[in-house]
């Protein structure tokens, strides 16, 4: 059994590259979206605030798998554009979805920095930009860490969906293996799960670490 397990694991590593590349790119874009949308929702301009609010609520209110299919099937039909490749469809769907969720983390963390800090920076004659960059964000960032850690695990779990639009990730190879070796199905999926868990372990560790840093809190 151990030998088969090892063989399956070896077989699954063919999908490791796709899973990791999608995970890393989607995470980077999610962070980017989170900061853009999170800070836009705090903007003084009502139009910017409104548009971002619609984006965040729509992507939080529908599910990732629906968005993925929508981008995959519907967007090319609607706008007559090609998003390049399925790889990009997967990355964009995941980034837009989790970017929306994480923008709430950015927004609430910025809001939870004490008012006195804003007042002090105004008193010190810092510009709006300096205030955000030098005073508020460095403090807010610490509060975001544990949630960011948690969401990175969610993003990893979300990447398993890309096999549904034909990408050859870990789950894809797991499915192929199972359909050719039906009796080894349980072991095949167990190995898929173990592989995702191994990738998740450093993320679990990071989010625990983030919790410790966040607990030190902000100046009040």
């Amino acid at each position: 059994m151990f030998e088969t397990g090892w063989n399956i694991l070896n077989y699954l590593t063919q999908g490791l590259g796709t899973t990791l590349s999608i995970f890393l790119t989607a995470t980077a874009f999610s962070f980017l979206m989170a900061f853009i949308a999170g800070l836009s929702r705090l903007s003084g301009n009502i139009l910017i605030r409104g548009v971002t609010a619609v984006y965040v609520e729509v992507f939080r209110g529908t599910s990732l798998i629906v968005q993925l299919f929508w981008l995959y099937y519907a967007v090319p039909m609607l706008f007559n554009i090609n998003l390049g490749s399925n790889w990009w469809v997967g990355v964009i769907a995941i980034a837009l979805n989790y970017g929306a969720y994480m923008s709430e983390v950015v927004r609430t963390s910025v809001l939870s920095v004490d008012k006195g800090q804003t007042e002090a920076s105004i008193a010190l004659n810092l510009t709006r930009y300096q205030r955000m960059k030098e005073v508020i964000l460095p403090q807010a960032f610490r509060l975001m860490l544990p949630e960011f850690g948690n969401y990175s695990i969610q993003i990893l779990k979300g990447t398993a969906l890309v096999s549904l639009i034909g990408l050859t990730d870990i789950l894809y190879f797991g499915d192929i293996y199972r359909s050719t070796n039906l009796s080894e199905g349980p072991l095949a999926y167990l190995m898929v799960l173990i592989m995702y868990f191994i990738i998740a372990l450093p993320l679990i560790w990071l989010s625990k670490k983030g919790e410790k840093i966040a607990r030190r809190g902000v100046a009040s």
Binding site: S63, V66, R178, P186, Y189, L193
Partner: protein, 233 residues
Amino acid sequence: MTYWSWETFFDAFPIIITGINVTLGLTVVSFLLALAAGFIWLLLESTPFKAFNFIIYWIREFIRSTPPIVQIFFLYFAWPMVPYIGMSFTPFVAAMLALGIHFSTYISEVYRSGIESVDKGQWEAATALNFSVKDKWFSIVLPQAIPPTIPMLGNYLIILFKEVPLAATIGVVGILSIARSYGAQTWSYLEPLTIVAILFLILSYPSALLVRALEKKMNRQFDKKNTKVKVTE
């Protein structure tokens, strides 16, 4: 190229809406399972045997940090092949078990935070007043532990609702599954998938607003409680 057609939209809508019962039904039964199983995790993790608790903790962590879709596939495709205890499930039951167990790992965390939020003084007071174990839990701890968890549980219910369309991949005939087969027959995916997105939005957004209002109300109550304590001090 095909563009948006209201004709297709109104043709597909009545067909897709028939799947809403299955989607909502699966959400409800999975959530009930998660509520019950979350409690079991909590019990298993607080036995006097440290090593046992540790193992259970990591099993829970394993289930929590691996993709639910793989767990659904495992239960549906692979479980019948498991020696001795293997049996085949219908797609609905497989999805219910997988989603229920996956979310129970979160729910147990909610329960724990609720119990830990009860002030230590309350436990001590209950012991000092010679309450029995049953009375301590049912008249002192739980009445204070449960209310603050309700918005969190509500949040998880909404998240679970949005994971339910994963069941379409093993053939549970919910709204997503119907929309996809409609798309495959007519070669127009745009309208049916948009309908699915709209249905999810109009069901989950008001619920999310409700949960947020509840959250605010709970926070206010907590603040009140804190000030009361300070006054009596």
